[in-house]
Structures are given as C-alpha cells and as structure tokens.
C-alpha cells in the first residue's frame, strides 16, 4: 500500500472525505482508475445523502476504513466509455447505486441478485478487485463497470431521481419480492424519512392502501396531503395502535433506530409480513408468539440487483415518482449531516456536486 490515494490511479479526482469517527468532512484529493474496456467514466452531477453515509462516516457499524468518501445515490453524465461498452455512450445520463462489482459466478449473481453476492463490492468503503479502496459519489467523477451503471430515464429529474438509487430500490425490491403489490391490500410504512416517503409513493403506485406509522404526529398532514398516504398512525398512542391491530397485510419497517417489533407485528393480519430494511446496530426484540400465533413473518432485504434497479427506475419514471429533496452544496455537507442525525430533512439531502466548488 505504498501509493497514496492521490497517486494510486491515473485519473485525478477530488471529493470530500471523513477522516475519523467525528465524521467531519473536508476536501480530499484522490484518483480513479483508467477507463477499462468494460468501464464507464461519469462526471458526477448529483449525489444523494443516505443515512448509511452518516452511519459509516461516524463508524457506527465498526467497519469504516478511513478516509471515507461516501455517496451511493450518484447521477451524472458519461464522459468516456471503454471498448466493450455497448449500453452507454458519451453524454448519456446515468446512475450508480450501492454496488460497483460482484463475482458474476455465484448463484445470487446468476439470478440477477448481485446485492446478495458474498463477494460484492460496495460503492464506497470496500476493497476493489485491484486491492484499492472504493470511493463514492461525494466527488467529481467515478469509473464503474457498465454492468453496474443504470440508464437514467429521460423524464426523470436528475436531482430528485438520485435518491431512488438507494432509497428507491431498498423499498421497491422487498415490495416486489414479498408480494406487496396486490391492489387494495393494506401496507404500513414505519418511519417517514428518506426510505419511508418513497415507500409511500411506490405503494400508492401499486394501488395499495397506505398507512404511515410514525412517532411524530407533526408529520401527519404532509404524509396525507403531500405524499398521498391514506392514513397516519401515531405509534406512541396506545389507543390508536390497539384500534389498528390486525388490519395490515404488510409493513415496511424503515426505522434505523433500535426498536421493539412487538407493536408493529400486532398491526399485521394473519399471514402478515413485516420487512425490515433499516439497519439498527443492535438486535431487535421479537416476541415469538406474535409470529407463531398468526403465522406472521419478519424478513429482511438489502437494496436490489442491477436488473431490478433499472426496472425500479423505469417504474418510477412512468409513475412520476421521485424523491422530495433539499439541495445542498458540497461545502454545506457537515451541516446537512448534523441535521440528518436529527431527522431534520424533508426527506433527502442531495448534493449539487456539479455546481459545488469542491476545493
């Protein structure tokens, strides 16, 4: 590891990195690999700020390898393509999400589930196949194998579409996999943040009745009038929770704080499904009788495969679904992170990389 981040690759790059577990960001000079035969080089225009970026910047999961350049909701324009690249050309609007490589040989990869490949390489904080660290989208350019690049639909706004690359696929994938798509059925969305607000929009597009489950009563009017939810349940109100017991077919639990699953499970009908997509750092408590007594299940899901992510983008474009965002400049990122830690955002920050001074 004799080479520094600046010299290990031939293409100069600049981004903002966190260097220790205070998670404070500052300018960072590094480099990107040469555009290989299968690669697409992308000038980054926008990058969404995902709560995972915050967890990682502060080493809350204990796996951070500093310095870290986060960002896995990346949108930009193609500036160069390798000789084997047929799907993209210069000038195309494209996106990159949570993965940049996988083994392509295992059962998961063969089924289009690169996100479950035991050797998948994440967009940031992973070790790439050449032994160097991956750096994410809080930067000016990125080089990615064409298989892991998404085509951005024409009618999708670049800035508001960026968060779909993680938040969107994170809720879309389990909604399809666990069968939460039958019109008329009742979906509960626990947590109304980056993931939750997109889950409401996608749920409505599937024809579901959607109830937002939240601890914050003040989110109610927006949930209903702006996001289109049918109902709002304040989960800290025991009487309201009791009245809603056994009424939901499915629940997507987007809450990343540690919480008990007991009240949520009680909201499900017999055969109900609770899918957890948030990543709390401690285990959740499950009272087993809530599962056994009504044949309910708790499942997990982690982003989605490449084919499915493209399908999700096209679905959202068709239904005019994009995230509700607040644009920030790169030099405002530390303030944005502090506000995100307090859930003070409606509902995703997106860094306007193209218009930011990075140095």
């Amino acid at each position: 590891m004799a080479k520094s981040p600046e010299t290990e690759h031939p293409q100069k790059a600049i981004g903002w990195a966190a260097r220790d577990n205070t998670g404070t960001f500052s300018p960072f000079h590094f480099s990107r690999r040469e555009t290989g035969a299968d690669d697409v080089t992308i000038k980054i225009l926008f990058c969404g700020i995902c709560h995972s970026d915050l967890h990682c910047a502060r080493n809350e999961w204990g796996v951070t390898n500093y310095p870290i350049v986060p960002g896995h909701e990346i949108v930009g324009t193609v500036t160069k393509v390798g000789n084997n690249v047929s799907k993209f050309k210069e000038g195309d609007k494209v996106g990159v999400g949570v993965l940049v490589a996988s083994c392509q040989k295992c059962e998961s990869c063969q089924q289009g589930l690169e996100n479950y490949c035991p050797n998948m390489i994440l967009t940031y904080n992973s070790i790439d196949r050449d032994g160097t660290k991956t750096y994410g989208g809080y930067s000016d350019l990125i080089v990615v194998d064409q298989h892991y690049v998404l085509r951005f639909p024409d009618n999708m706004p670049l800035d508001a579409g960026a968060p779909l690359l993680c938040a969107g696929i994170t809720v879309y994938s389990p909604m399809k996999y666990y069968g939460m798509t039958e019109p008329g059925k009742h979906l509960g969305v626990a947590g109304l943040g980056g993931l939750g607000h997109v889950a409401v929009k996608i749920g409505k597009a599937f024809g579901l009745k959607v109830t937002v489950i939240s601890t914050s009563p003040k989110k109610e009017s927006e949930a209903i009038s702006k996001l289109g939810a049918d109902a709002f349940l304040v989960s800290s109100d025991p009487a309201k929770v009791k009245a809603a017991m056994g009424t939901m077919d499915y629940i997507i639990d987007t809450v990343s704080a540690v919480h008990s699953l007991a009240p949520l499970l009680g909201l499900l009908k017999v055969n109900g499904k609770l899918v957890t997509v948030g990543l709390p750092e401690k285990p959740l408590e499950v009272p087993i009788f809530a599962l056994v007594g009504a044949r309910r299940l708790v499942g997990g899901s982690n982003v989605g495969g490449m084919k499915e992510t493209q399908e999700m983008l096209d679905f959202c474009a068709k239904h005019n679904i994009a995230a509700d965002i607040e644009l920030v400049r790169m030099d405002q990122i530390n303030t944005a992170m502090e506000r995100l830690a307090k859930s003070d955002v409606k509902y995703r920050f997106v860094i306007d990389v193209g218009n930011s001074k990075l140095q």
Binding site: E107, S108, L113, Y116, P118, P174, Y177, G246, S260, L261, A262, K269, V270, N271, T276, V277, G278, L279, P280, P283, L284, E285, V286, P287, I288, F289, A290, L291, V292, G293, A294, R295, R296, L297, V298, G299, G300, S301, N302
Partner: protein, 361 residues
C-alpha cells in the same frame, strides 16, 4: 358456573385432571355433552402427551382453568354420530387434535385456517359455545363437532398416529406453507423431541435433505440411523456451525426454551427461512443485519387447519410415518410428565387410555 363437572352434561366421563398449579394429575369424574346433530362421539383408545400439556397443567402461560384435563392428540373409535353427520359412522377410527371449535365465518376460517381464528376453541381449558369448559383426551370418551374430527386411515396404528394430531401438523404445516418441501432442498431441524423427530420423518418423505441441529451429541446416532437424518450438527460446536453456514434452504425450530437466533440465521442460504414453532415465553433477539444480508425470513407457525390436518394424516399413512412412542398406563402419567420435563423420552409418551384409564368403582 353453578353445575359441577359431573353434572353439567348428560354423559358420564372419567379422566385424569390437574387441580392446581402443582400440575399433579389425579382421577377425575366429569361429564360430556349429549351427541348433538353434528357431533361425533368416540371411545378414546390413546392420547399423546404434548409438552404444551405440561405448560398448561402448571399454568405456565397464565391462562389455565382448573380442574384441567389435558390431551390434544386423541384417537379412538366412533360409538355414536349425530343425525347431520355425513363424514363418519360408528366403528370408524378417528382423531381430534388441538381445536374443537372456531367461529366458521372469519377470513381465517373461510380459508381452512381455523387455527388462526381469533375465536378458536382449544380442546382443553377453553370455553365452548355452550359456556362450559372443554376437557381434553386424558379421558375415556370425547364428543366433538365432525368438522374438527379427522379420519385415521385403516392400517395405521392408532397409538403411534396420535402424536401426529399436534406434533405432526405443527411441523407439516410450515414445511408446506414456507415451501420447504421441494425434493433436493436442505432443511435443518432444531431440537430432537416430539416435534423434531416427526419433522425429520416428514421432510425425508418429501425428498428433502435433513440436518438435525441439537445441543446433545448423544442424539446423533439415533438421528441418523433410526430417524433417517442425513447429518447432525452440534449447535455448541463452533467449528461445526461455522462449516455449515449458508447451507440450508430452511430451518424448522422446535425449541421452546429461550435461545439465540443469530447462529441459526447464519446457517441459512440467501433467501432462507427460519420457522419457529416453539414459543418461548420471553422475546428473542433478532439481529436485523443477518436478515438483510441475504434477504432471509423468520416466520412463525401454529398447528394447522382441519383440511390440512387430514391431508397430513393421509400423507403420513401413505409414507408409513408414525411417531416413535413410549406407551404408558394412566397411573404413570405424573411420572411421565416429570420425565418429559427433563426431555427423557424417545420421543412422545402415549397414554393407553382404553386399557388403563378406568374409574375405580
């Protein structure tokens, strides 16, 4: 509740009941209702002893009504049928499991899932439609609505079939519902007791490769040679568990004690399913990360509906699946329950009711 158990119904009945939380059973005279137009009355020949009986006689779940006559793995021979009964006749071999009534009109009942009916009536210690308390199969006769009676096919032994009425359906239902029944799949069975040993047999009959997961290395040779399991994993052995990670399509977890789920979730392949059929009385910890990384599921299941219970009995008859039992006389029942509490049985006690449960004049 003015009438004594002996007088509230017209038919005399005799059984063994626990009268208080000591859980000690003793002879008990009570009565059964007259055979209603949809009822089937049968002479009980055998009744299996389920671990739930043990929990209930000691009021461990807090809902026991004393005196309690347990027993929900009941088999016998029909002696009388009501005028509107179409499925059974005198002389038929029949069984009754965990339920004797439900609302018959809710969403669950409408799809043959009476076991999930919010108003389900359990075979013992529950209030029946007529307001009286139900008494179970540690007794000489049973009267039940024909909807909740299953036929035991000719040629199947009554005694070794009795435990299937609870243990059998409890593991058969989730093997089918969660799709863990496809030939070539690999399924783990945690716990080798009444439920576990039957799970091994059903899964093998479905063409599934089975690994028994247990804390007791001493159960290994029986699991493989006698029950037909393909392999055996000692859950306390870190190396064995590590080597088996990511190898199972599903796991049926029959253990009712509190235990960690994370090692079991680790044994699952991507998209694998852990199904709990035991219900520990404290919540268990679920590490969300292990579910997400691999899109895995933890689900529950509780017995099965009546249609499925009959299907299970017929499947067992076709594949010669029966429980491994120790038949005991009625007056051994307290000792049997003490041994059951120490898991000292291979693998289900069955009371020989017809020959040994007689009221002394």
């Amino acid at each position: 509740m003015g009438q004594a158990p002996e007088q509230e119904h017209p038919k005399n009945a005799f059984g063994w009941a626990a009268k208080d939380t000591s859980g000690v059973l003793s002879p008990f005279h009570f009565s059964r209702r007259a055979t209603g137009e949809k009822d089937v009355t049968f002479k009980v020949t055998h009744c299996g002893i389920c671990h739930s009986d043990l929990h209930m006689i000691k009021n461990e779940w807090g809902n026991t009504i004393y005196p309690i006559v347990p027993g929900h793995e009941i088999v016998g021979v029909v002696t009388e049928v009501g005028s509107k009964v179409s499925k059974f006749k005198v002389g038929d071999k029949v069984g009754v499991g965990c339920m004797v009534g439900s609302c018959r009109s809710c969403d669950s009942c409408a799809i043959d899932l009476e076991n999930y009916c919010p108003k389900v009536i359990m075979t013992y210690a529950n209030k029946y439609h007529d307001g009286t308390i139900t008494y179970g199969g540690y007794s000489d006769i049973m009267v039940a609505d024909e909807h909740f009676v299953v036929r035991i096919p000719e040629g199947t032994p009554l005694d070794a079939t009795a435990p299937l009425l609870c243990a059998g359906i409890t593991v058969y239902s989730p093997l089918r519902f969660y799709g863990l029944d496809k030939p070539g799949m690999h399924v783990g069975v945690v716990g080798l007791g009444g439920l576990g040993h039957v799970a091994v047999k059903f899964a093998k009959a479905m063409g599934v490769k089975v690994t028994v997961i247990s804390t007791s290395p001493s159960k290994k040779s029986e699991a493989i040679e006698r029950l037909g399991a393909d392999s055996f994993l000692v859950s306390r052995d870190q190396d064995e568990m590590q080597a088996a990670m990511g190898t199972m399509d599903g796991i049926i977890d029959t253990v009712s004690a509190v235990h960690p789920l994370m090692p079991l979730i680790g044994l699952l392949k991507s998209q694998g399913k852990l199904v709990l059929v035991g219900a520990p009385e404290k919540p268990l910890e679920l590490p969300a990360f292990s579910l997400l990384m691999g899109r895995k599921i933890v689900g529950g299941s509780m017995i099965g509906g009546m249609k499925e219970t009959q299907e299970m009995i017929d499947f067992a008859a076709k594949h010669n699946i029966r429980a491994d039992i120790e038949v005991i006389p009625a007056d051994y029942v307290n000792t049997a329950l003490e041994r059951l509490a120490k898991a000292d049985v291979r693998y289900r006690f069955v009371i020989d009711v017809a020959n040994t449960m007689k009221s002394t004049p």
